[in-house]
């Protein structure tokens, strides 16, 4: 089969987005849009292993449907499919729905494309497409709140892009090529490998929610509409992890320093996210923090993959499994919140809550869920004695933390007051939303059986997991969690008007401190997109400096000054040259 199919299936949403701008195509687009990721899904499911290089595209684009890419492509396609169907009729305003659809499709294209990209520049291009197109999704409702969220999203995203660009440039200059097959080895041998690794870790870390670069997550997720949050948490933040797995020298490093750093930050992220999420008062914020917490597991797995002694394949497989597990569960939860806020009937509410509870338990790793399986895979990575000894207690602690967070989330969902009940196309809205949500939950329920099969047929070496082990491993968790949850019920049942830790924890905290240091905050405000920088800037002390510069520029527009400047420049440069070269 022709390898171009990889590019085509990723670009179909992009083409649809542009077609959708044409007036005549709008009605047809309503029907087609939700199915846009279908070609990608089919590619992931049935296409053979494909490789293709397109030398004219970018700097010679390479596409490769390898095992990891296939898993990520399949997951992304499934989630975008669900979110696309969910968003049909989710929006009241046709005009805003169209705008949402346009950027939804662009983001989708970026997300699908990066999973099959096999060279750094192609990956980076799709990554940037995804990042920038997701911004309008975040600020979709146009309130001041979501604009603030969008602002922090964009700032951190730009920071990430810049770190990434520097890292990739340094790596490419070492490797002499941008292909993923060459980059990791070159990085491992580079004299400045620590700088490169740090830049790449942080650059992709912004997307992956690496604390303290995670601050955009709990702000952007609640601001975005439910289907956008679902894909944001379900697949887009995973792109950061995929980036790590693609470029980092897995198994090629001699020391395990970086592996240790990632391991430690993974554990820290896990607990930090759980704590921050636990004190939230709105379900979407809590869910967003739960994503930070869950990304901790993936960070941890990436850390294990960096270990020198050849455990990378097992760690990568565990990473892939966890990605699929978390992607489906978290997307279903986010869609559940969206459906619940429009659900009126008690039966629908019970159904939605039950499904959400199942997904929550899956996150916590209860028996007979994908969570249990994915955590078991993490645990059984053969990464040395220390890991084997400490993995079980460690995962038990983190699972208990997750269980508390899940209890809190379910509590918040129960208390969630539905918005004004909407009707779309003659049905109550919630009924329209159910199929997309329901299929995700169903996929989650079937997950423990489907997931090993899917991973294995993609080409990853994973072991199956017997029901006995499910029950054996789960028993400890259930036995610990139930009494603890009962003892701590006051904690997760409590009500509060304001969260004890504001969403965006560090960023909000630092921001409020900076407010007091006026000059600095005003200087930073210059970088606030979409405000006139000048009007703010003039108010501050640096006014004098600005005036001096402006006066100098004005002076430059006089021609006697021009002559003097010319003479001076030449003299200075010449003297300088003499001084330098002796």
């Amino acid at each position: 089969m022709n390898g171009a199919i990889l590019l085509v299936s990723a670009l179909i949403p992009l083409v649809l987005a542009i077609t959708g701008l044409l007036n005549g195509a709008r009605v047809a687009m309503d029907r087609i849009t939700p199915w846009a990721p279908l070609p990608a899904l089919l590619t992931a499911l049935i296409a053979p292993s494909l490789q293709v290089s397109m030398p004219s595209l970018l700097f010679g684009a390479e596409f490769d449907l390898d095992a990891l890419g296939r898993v990520f492509l399949g997951l992304s396609a499934v989630l975008w499919l669900a979110a696309g169907h969910f968003s049909c009729g989710y929006f009241e305003n046709r005009k805003s729905e169209r705008r949402h659809r346009f950027f939804f499709l662009l983001t989708m294209s970026g997300n699908l494309g990066l999973t099959v990209a096999a060279d750094a520049v192609t990956f980076y291009s799709f990554f940037a497409l995804m990042t920038f197109s997701a911004y309008p999704l975040v600020i979709h409702d146009g309130t001041e709140n979501s604009r603030r969220a969008g602002r922090s999203y964009l700032r951190l995203a730009i920071l990430g892009e810049m770190l990434l660009l520097s890292g990739l440039l340094l790596a490419t200059s070492q490797a002499g090529s941008t292909e993923f097959s060459a980059l990791p080895k070159a990085i491992a041998l580079a004299p400045n490998r620590n700088t490169i690794i740090a830049l790449l870790l942080a650059g992709f870390g912004v997307k992956a929610g690496l604390v303290p670069l995670h601050a955009w997550l709990p702000l952007a997720h609640p601001a975005a509409p439910a289907p956008a949050s679902a894909v944001l948490s379900g697949t887009m933040i995973k792109a950061g992890v995929l980036g790590w797995l693609r470029v980092l020298p897995l198994g090629d490093l001699e020391s395990s320093t970086w592996s240790g750093i990632l391991l430690a930050s993974g554990i820290f992220m896990n607990l930090y996210g759980a704590i921050c999420g636990f004190v939230q008062v709105r379900p979407k914020e809590a869910l967003a923090y739960s994503s930070v917490s869950q990304m901790g597991y993936l960070t941890l797995a990436a850390g294990l993959a960096l270990e020198p002694d050849g455990v990378a394949p097992a760690a990568i497989a565990a990473c892939a499994a966890y990605t699929v597990h978390h992607g489906i569960a978290k997307a279903a939860l986010f869609l559940g919140v969206g459906a619940l806020s429009h659900a009126d009937g008690p039966r629908v509410r019970v159904l939605l809550l039950t499904g959400s509870l199942y997904c929550g338990l899956s996150l916590a790793g209860f028996p007979l869920t994908t969570g249990a399986y994915a955590k078991w895979l993490l645990k059984s990575i053969p990464a040395g004695k220390t890991w084997n000894a400490w993995a079980s207690p460690l995962l038990l602690v983190t699972s208990i933390a997750t269980a508390f967070l899940v209890a809190r989330i379910i509590m918040l969902l129960v208390r969630l007051q539905p918005d004004q009940v909407k009707h779309a196309y003659g049905f109550p809205l919630a009924m329209r939303l159910l199929p997309a949500w329901g299929s995700l939950v169903l996929l989650g329920v079937l997950g423990p059986w489907l997931l090993p099969i899917a991973l294995r047929s993609a080409g990853l070496h994973v072991t199956s997991f017997s029901a006995l082990e499910h029950i054996g491993g789960g028993a400890a968790l259930v036995l610990w969690t139930t009494p603890l949850l009962y003892i701590g019920r006051r904690l997760w049942l409590r009500t509060a008007a304001q969260p004890a830790i504001p969403p965006g924890d560090l960023l909000t905290f630092v921001g409020s401190k900076l407010e007091r240091l006026t000059p600095i905050s005003k200087f930073l405000a210059v970088f606030t997109p979409w405000k006139k920088p000048f009007s703010r800037f003039t108010q501050i002390r640096t006014e004098g400096l600005i005036k001096a510069v402006v006066r100098m520029e004005e002076a430059q527009t006089r021609w006697d000054f021009g002559m003097i400047a010319l003479a001076l420049t030449w003299t200075t440069l010449w003297v300088f040259l003499h001084w330098r070269t002796g």
Partner: protein, 503 residues
């Protein structure tokens, strides 16, 4: 007839003839003038294509005419000139269309288009120049031909801008002349040649050569808007939009940068320049100008002024790439020569459309304009993202190679400069884009369209204004997207660099 001799002469001559024809056309003969203009521009594109094919198949085009006993006027097509020729002839064609739409119904069109074509003649001459003296003659001619365009509106502000422009560029030209004369006293008449011609003088004339290099850079740096010689550029943006577009993309500023590229690679020779120690200070100056221009752009209210400072910054990308030793830097510089032209001309076209259609000039008046003019703002967005350097736009390609050049040369600060500039570019372009697409539409002060004659009733502005912007935006996108192709600016830049660094 010997085409190898005559083609290099016909290239500038076609514009000159156009200019003279326009002089005799009456003011109200719009159609005839437009026809002559477009005929000249089309003819030139065809000739450039022929010459391009010729160079590709190893043809040598050279016309040599004696100026005096020792000096020759040499017009020659080599690979670098071809790059510049292709860029300027294409953009000129588009700008002519834009100018026809822009100036519709305004007085003094014959004068305008006459000097417009003269400007083109000079630019053609600059790109074809085979030695320093030819280069200088056309360089000065460009200065003089551009002045009437800048003061076209005849307002007090325009006249002032014109005075400043003349003061700067004439002095710059004089300095360049002095440098050229100095070179002539040392080595006699020279030709441009990859690898340079001054290296044999190194042991005895080191300090003199350093002085000459500095002198030439200062002279050329005026048009290339190197800090602190950039003062004229933001002032000159009072010119009509098509003029600004040309000024910032192909004609004047590019002549300066092109001169610097020629100086480094074809007069001194890059390896020799490195051994003289003159390139590092130049790269520092360029690096400083990049950041300085971006910061200054941040504080401009006026859209065109902001774009002008952005040009100051972007031009120095090219100088930086040329001054950082190594193939990647050179590729980046040559590619950016084209890319910057494509992107900046798009931005100025859009600024012109906004000003002409809705009377919008300030960056804070753009709120919600994207819904009214989706195509214009779409083009603007593509170009602005290119300036920021987001893949897959053209700007990314040059930034990547410049960064690679910096890293390979061990100058890690180049990377820092590029990153800083990208962030600043985000800070001054993203607010505009955000306001335009997501801001609330202004209900109160929206002026009615000034232009009554929309060719297509549903179009957002008249077609001659819109089409060139769309075409250049499309080119800025495809130049990046298909950078790996042989026919992309990057492909050409790679080819040229290969020859330049050939032993």
């Amino acid at each position: 007839m010997n085409w190898n001799f005559w083609l290099p002469i016909f290239l500038p001559l076609s514009s000159l003839v156009t200019a003279l024809l326009i002089l005799v056309i009456r003011e109200n003969q719009h159609r005839l003038r437009t026809f002559v203009n477009l005929l000249g521009a089309t003819l030139k594109i065809v000739m450039v294509a022929v010459v391009g094919y010729g160079v590709y198949t190893q043809h040598a085009y050279e016309a040599r005419m004696p100026l005096s006993l020792t000096l020759d006027l040499v017009l020659r097509v080599d690979d670098i000139s071809l790059l510049f020729l292709a860029l300027s002839s294409t953009l000129w064609f588009l700008t002519t269309i834009f100018a026809v739409g822009y100036l519709e119904g305004s007085p003094h069109q014959s004068r305008f288009f006459c000097f417009f074509s003269l400007c083109m003649t000079a630019t053609m001459g600059i790109s074809l120049a085979g030695n320093l003296i030819t280069f200088l003659i056309f360089y000065e001619m460009l200065t003089l031909a551009t002045y009437p365009l800048i003061v076209h509106r005849g307002t007090e502000k325009a006249l002032r801008a014109g005075r400043i422009y003349l003061a700067y560029t004439l002095v710059g030209g004089a300095v360049t002349l002095a440098g050229t004369a100095w070179i002539h006293t040392l080595v006699g008449p020279t030709q441009f040649a990859h690898g340079g011609v001054l290296a044999p003088l190194a042991p005895t004339h080191r300090h003199q050569l350093q002085a000459i290099f500095t002198l030439m850079i200062v002279g050329l740096g005026v048009k290339a808007a190197l800090f602190p010689l950039h003062g004229w550029l933001p002032t000159a943006m009072v010119a009509p939009a098509p003029v600004s577009a040309l000024l910032h993309a192909v004609a004047v500023v590019k002549a300066g940068v092109f001169g610097i590229v020629r100086l480094i690679y074809d007069v001194f020779g890059v390896k020799f320049a490195v051994s003289l120690g003159v390139l590092a200070p130049l790269s520092w100056l360029a690096g400083f100008t990049i950041v300085y221009g971006s910061i200054r752009a941040l504080f401009q209210h006026d859209l065109k002024r902001r774009l002008a400072y952005s040009t100051v910054s972007q031009l120095s990308y090219i100088v930086l790439g040329a001054a950082v030793f190594g193939a990647s830097g050179t590729i980046g510089a040559l590619a950016h020569l084209v890319h910057q032209g494509l992107m900046k001309i798009t931005l100025f076209f859009c600024a012109g459309i906004l000003g002409e259609t809705w009377g919008i000039h300030g960056v804070d008046e753009l709120s919600g304009i994207g819904r009214r003019m989706p195509l214009t703002m779409g083009a603007f967005t593509i170009a602005a993202f290119g300036m920021i350097g987001t893949p897959p736009m053209a700007g990314f390609v040059s930034k990547w190679y410049l960064g690679l050049g910096g890293v390979r040369a061990g100058d890690y600060w180049v990377l820092a400069v590029l990153i800083a500039s990208s962030v600043l570019n985000c800070a001054y372009f993203l607010p505009i884009i955000h306001d335009a697409w997501f801001g609330k539409s202004r209900q109160d002060s929206v002026a009615l369209p000034q232009r009554r004659s929309l060719v297509v009733p549903a179009a957002e502005t008249s077609l001659p204004l819109l089409l060139p912007a769309l075409v250049t935006a499309f080119m800025s996108l495809t130049a990046g997207l298909f950078a790996g192709s042989h026919f992309s600016p990057l492909g050409a830049a790679r080819l040229i660099t290969e020859r330049m660094y050939a032993p």
